[in-house]
Amino acid sequence: MSTTLEPPGAAAPATGTPDIRGAAVRRGDRVFVGLSRGAGILILVTMAAIAVFLIWKSIPSLQANTANFFTTSEWSPDAKPVVFGIAALLFGTLMTALIAMLLAVPVGIGIALFIAHYASRRLASTLGFVTDLLAAVPSIIFGMWGIQFLTPQLQGFLQWLTTYFGWIPIFQNDLGIYTRSILIAGIVLAIMVLPTISAISREVFVQTPRTHIEAALALGATRWEMVRMAIFPFARPGMISASMLGLGRALGETIAVALLLSATYEINWHITEPGGITFAANIALKWNEAGTIGLSALVASGLVLFVITLAVNMGARLIIARRSEFSGAN
């Protein structure tokens, strides 16, 4: 990029001091500023356009709905009278995502920590490669694997869980059927978001400044104390971002969940029993058979999912910003 003070093409003075007068014409700078500003605005416009589309398209169904949109656990938008609500969808989405997070965050961070600070270099690069590969597996594969392989494999464990921990309401199973459940969907989601969480956490862990690590060790910290004293505080914003990206995928995952769940519109806290559905899976399953109001109702549910993911991300930013003064970035 040219930083000359003279207009391009002007002959440079042969002798003496260069002329410092004259307006700067830095075409490269201007083009770059324009491009980056345009890219920034484009993102905002896209977001706004999505929001407007979702709101606009969902209005007809919301006006036709005879039931409460938020508290109804039923999905019959093309029936007469029109009855649909997102209660069961919301429950299924949040529950599967919660299970996925509970399983994937500790395991993902554990894998990342092992790769970054415990494993030998050779083992670390192999493990890192394998977890990255896991991220590249398409979701439909996870769905098929979950229903064909994982579900039968988990039968024994789930029965055991109900037998010994059935007194905890969520593990109670009155049907004796252990397939197509929220729990299995949550477990498959956990595996799907694991590489996201562990890859990003690993990147942040290895960036921990050597000086922080040595400061902790020189005070007489053990390896684990060093991790808590130097690595976790440094990596905290990164771990939150990693988890939020994973959560975003878990909330929005469509096809694997559509294969795994049996699309019943009920709020069932017995997470090992069949049933339940999520926003994304419901849209995928119902889109082709939906009528005019049905399509509009699905868009309305999509709007709720959109708002949830936005809220989750904003919440994460707030958590990160709250202690930014202590982040070491300054």
């Binding site: 000086t211 400061a215 020189a218 005070l219 007489g220 505080p233 202590f326």
Partner: protein, 259 residues
């Protein structure tokens, strides 16, 4: 409180590379010993073997004995974690924990032994350590502010406060002033003068005036040759080293002819 150190026939390796060879010297309690020498001669490496910090680098190890009041810190039943709790260290670049407040930084080492202490005792330790590091007056009104918000010299004194809060036997300093301006350097040097009343201090420095100002004993390290390990050329009282060294290499280095 302060203990003596006796190093005998110390060889230090990074993997198959021998960085330091045949180092033997002693450090008297409540004294300041300066390690000087050109870059890459192994003086920082030797310093880091004194509290087993060199071995946090993969592949690094040491042979020979390092006695702390007669006990070999490389003995079979010695936990390096405990060695580091006994022998504190201050680094070249100030490294307060960025997510911790000034107070939390001072107490960071104390959190590690798992003992529960009453709040009043902790506050006493914070004040005593910060006073010991000549930092109390500057930070007493903002103990809950982040330690990373201080100036470089203040951060380094905070690191010294953190190191002395656990009441170590020995304090190792690895070029503690090389990232600081002259005024902060002077503050640290004054502090070293006070700290040697209580601690045994070993300091690595590139600054020969600094070695002359703060230390009683000076050890000069040099490379045996290109690609060869570093060795201890000469160790004597600082006065002797700077006025009448026995080795030609020491005189050349001190008079600025190389290095």
């Amino acid at each position: 409180m302060a203990k003596r150190i006796d190093v005998t026939d110390l060889d230090v390796f990074y993997g198959s590379f021998k960085a330091v060879e045949g180092v033997t010297f002693s450090v008297e309690p409540r004294s300041v010993t300066a390690l000087i020498g050109p870059s890459g001669c192994g003086k920082s490496t030797v310093l880091r073997t004194l509290n087993r910090m060199h071995e946090v680098i993969p592949g690094a190890y040491a042979e020979g004995t390092v006695l702390l009041d007669g006990e070999d810190i490389y003995g079979a039943d010695i936990d390096p974690v405990n060695v580091r709790r006994t022998i504190g260290m201050v680094f070249q670049r100030p490294n307060p924990f960025p997510t911790m407040s000034i107070k939390e930084n001072v107490l960071a080492g104390l959190k590690l032994d798992g003992k529960k202490r009453p709040k009043s005792e902790l506050e006493g330790i914070v004040e005593k350590s910060l006073r010991g590091a000549n930092l109390w007056e500057e930070v007493k009104d903002r103990l809950d502010r982040p330690g990373a918000g201080l100036s470089g010299g203040q951060q380094q004194r905070l690191c010294i406060a953190r190191a002395i809060a656990v009441e170590p036997q020995v304090l190792l300093m690895d070029e503690p002033c090389s990232a600081l301006d002259p005024i902060s350097t002077l503050a640290i040097e004054d502090l070293i003068e006070e700290l040697k009343e209580r601690f045994t201090i070993v300091i690595v420095t590139h600054n020969m005036q600094q070695a002359a100002r703060v230390s009683e004993t000076t050890a000069f390290f040099n490379l045996a040759g290109v690609g060869k390990p570093g060795k201890l050329v000469e160790i004597a009282s600082t006065e002797m080293m700077f006025s009448n060294p026995t080795q030609q290499a020491t005189e050349d280095y001190i008079s600025g002819r190389f290095g």
